[in-house]
Symmetry: C2
Subunit: 383 residues, 2 copies
């Protein structure tokens, strides 16, 4: 039997969005995308894997619940890594013949509607690569699990190249800069209280590819230009350019969703209120100090610099009052209260439109952990 | 002194939207647009004008309130018509030298956020053209008052041609078909309870022209194709094509608004709920029976055929319950109750998300009225 291998992997949030595949099966995107990888100390997926002769069928447990292994994407990941292991003769054939048990958890609420599959697949692929001792670009394998998972394979700022090859061999992620490059960058995730069932990303992007005429123009003209510009802005630590492109691309992504038929709507009135608050704040500051971005759901992700965190947190708490006594999760938040009330001409909204905030920063890529805090015991059973 | 001239003019609702000018001053649009003109018996503007030597300055009264005449668009309309009158020598110079008093009212609540300026300018231009006895294409003059007003100059289905001339001489409206062509067409306007201040159309479209990259593609590729297709669908009375293009173009218009920077958001959660209900209803019917379209505000305008009105009204009343006893305004609405509850898998929402409905149909263009129901008395004073 194998050792228990455990890995953790980060969530990533895209500034230039991935929306639309050129190949559904290989998960090849229509355009390059760019993201930031978040600190695994605040949010991460954790996955333990083992291979044993006494496991009768491949098994996967997600957040404590056994789930079907028939998921094609999951099988693609496992099969890809095993194929490489055979090619590289990295482990013996016996290990490769055994079934696996996979146990994965997220340390952040799945209710947050945050891209947990990216962290999950990046984590799984990292653990399996170690289990089978393969040396390979794991981003390519994470990609066939969940497209954006390939970006969670690196820390800092990451670019997923759409590539041009039909087999997807050049559709990989590369690091633009590591997490130490722009130390001051902070992230606040605003989790919007929302009960609406949203259209899955898979369905939403497939509908957009089939029906949105504007997506074509985005893919051909807008996204490539923005990718180039934001990579420069990241290298130069030019926050206002970074922020403006981020906001514009979030808006364009949601515009394309709305241009789909039937339209896909992920942002709510509360999401749009957040947008309004940020634009008003930047306007009053006379500088772009905060950027918002929204994925396929109503939650906002704000990028800002550390120095502006106290003011922005107190702004958010003013406009979105809460009755929760555990409103800010994540890193220790500065408690300075700054009285923006007079300057921001916006009244507080009704309480509890936001469920909570997560305050975090950028971080590193996946890691195989060696502190023995596995999710499976030495016999390969769930702990 | 002149006679009192009184005109009425209709509201129009665009299926292919006008959003973006190629010339701000002459109000020349970037793309052709297509609309339907609504029955003046349900909604209209009414305007009385007179010219008298004893009026010391040009005066305008809108819905009972005197308003500044310094509005450039208003002056452009008056000056254009007077210039044509001089050219055509249609009236004597004395009449042209006198100041005018203009009194205009809408017979529908301005709170409805419905394009009242289109009806208003079409009405003004019709009345002034009669006052000065000019023979001209009034659509061109209405256009310099408010772009979409040029479409209210004709009944039935109307196309506003963007034109290519720099002086706007070919940016005129033409009738696609009169209101008797497609007698079965009905309109239900859903007035959404909403207190948000929306960005004006003038500002919104100017921002889109400056900042939306997607608008370029819409103007060059999408809108021209749709205009051609919907004109054919109107001629052929092909409802499902008409409806699908209408919905797609409404969505694309709002997508372009969202792609502007900062984004313009006119639709609310309630608007999007209406969209969802219509798509679900069409899906259950297995046919496109209703189309929605949204202008620069949260209110929906539904196009449907007369035979489907009872079912759709009972659907709306089911999903959007009301406590109002005057919920349906306009034409006499069929009272048949149809039990859709079991078929539409959507529960009623909280009461009073909609303020009221206006049930109406297509109608004719502006008319000079001769029944003496003027808004000014024989002395030119307000009644």
């Amino acid at each position: 039997m194998s050792d228990i291998i455990t890995a953790i992997a980060p969530v990533n949030i895209a500034m230039i969005k991935y929306w639309g595949k050129r190949d559904e099966k290989l998960i090849l995107p229509l355009n390059d995308s760019v993201s930031a990888t978040l600190d695994t100390n605040v949010m991460c997926a954790k996955t333990s894997v083992c291979a044993r002769p006494d496991i009768l069928e491949n098994e996967i447990w997600l957040n404590g619940i056994q789930t079907s292994f028939s998921n094609q994407r999951l099988q693609n990941c496992l099969n890809s890594i095993k194929a490489i292991a055979r090619e590289q003769q990295s482990v013996n054939e016996e290990l490769l013949s055994w079934n696996v048990r996979i146990c994965s958890v997220n340390n952040f609420p799945t209710a947050a509607g945050l891209a947990s599959s990216a962290a999950g697949y990046a984590c799984l692929v990292t653990a399996l690569a170690r289990l089978y001792k393969v040396k390979t670009d794991v981003s390519k394998i994470a990609r066939v699990g969940s497209g954006s998972a390939c970006r969670s394979v690196y820390g800092g700022f990451v670019r997923w190249h759409a590539g041009v090859q039909a087999d997807g061999s050049d559709s990989i992620a590369t690091q633009i800069a590591d997490s130490s490059h722009w130390k001051e960058m902070r992230v606040i995730i605003l989790v919007v209280a929302d009960t609406k069932k949203h259209i899955s990303s898979v369905k939403g992007m497939s509908c957009a590819v089939k029906t949105s005429e504007l997506l074509k123009y985005r893919v051909q003209v807008c996204a490539p230009t923005r990718v180039k510009q934001i990579c420069e802005a990241i290298k130069d630590k030019d926050f206002s350019t970074f922020a403006e492109i981020t906001m514009k691309d979030s808006n364009q992504f949601h515009a394309v969703c709305l241009d789909s038929y039937p339209p896909c709507v992920y942002m709510t009135d509360v999401s749009h209120k957040i947008v309004e608050v940020i634009h008003k704040y930047n306007e009053i500051c006379g500088a772009v100090k905060v950027a918002y971005t929204f994925d396929a759901g109503p939650n906002a992700c704000l990028y800002l610099l550390e120095k502006d965190v106290p003011e922005v947190l107190s702004l958010i708490k003013h406009i979105f009052p809460t009755t929760s006594d555990d409103f800010i999760k994540g890193l220790d938040a500065p408690t300075t209260h700054i009285d923006l009330v007079k300057e921001i001409p916006m009244n507080p909204l009704e309480p509890n439109l936001l469920k909570y905030l997560i305050y975090t920063k950028l971080g590193n890529g996946p890691q195989v952990i060696t502190d023995e805090s596995h999710l499976l015991n030495a016999q390969g059973n769930l702990l």
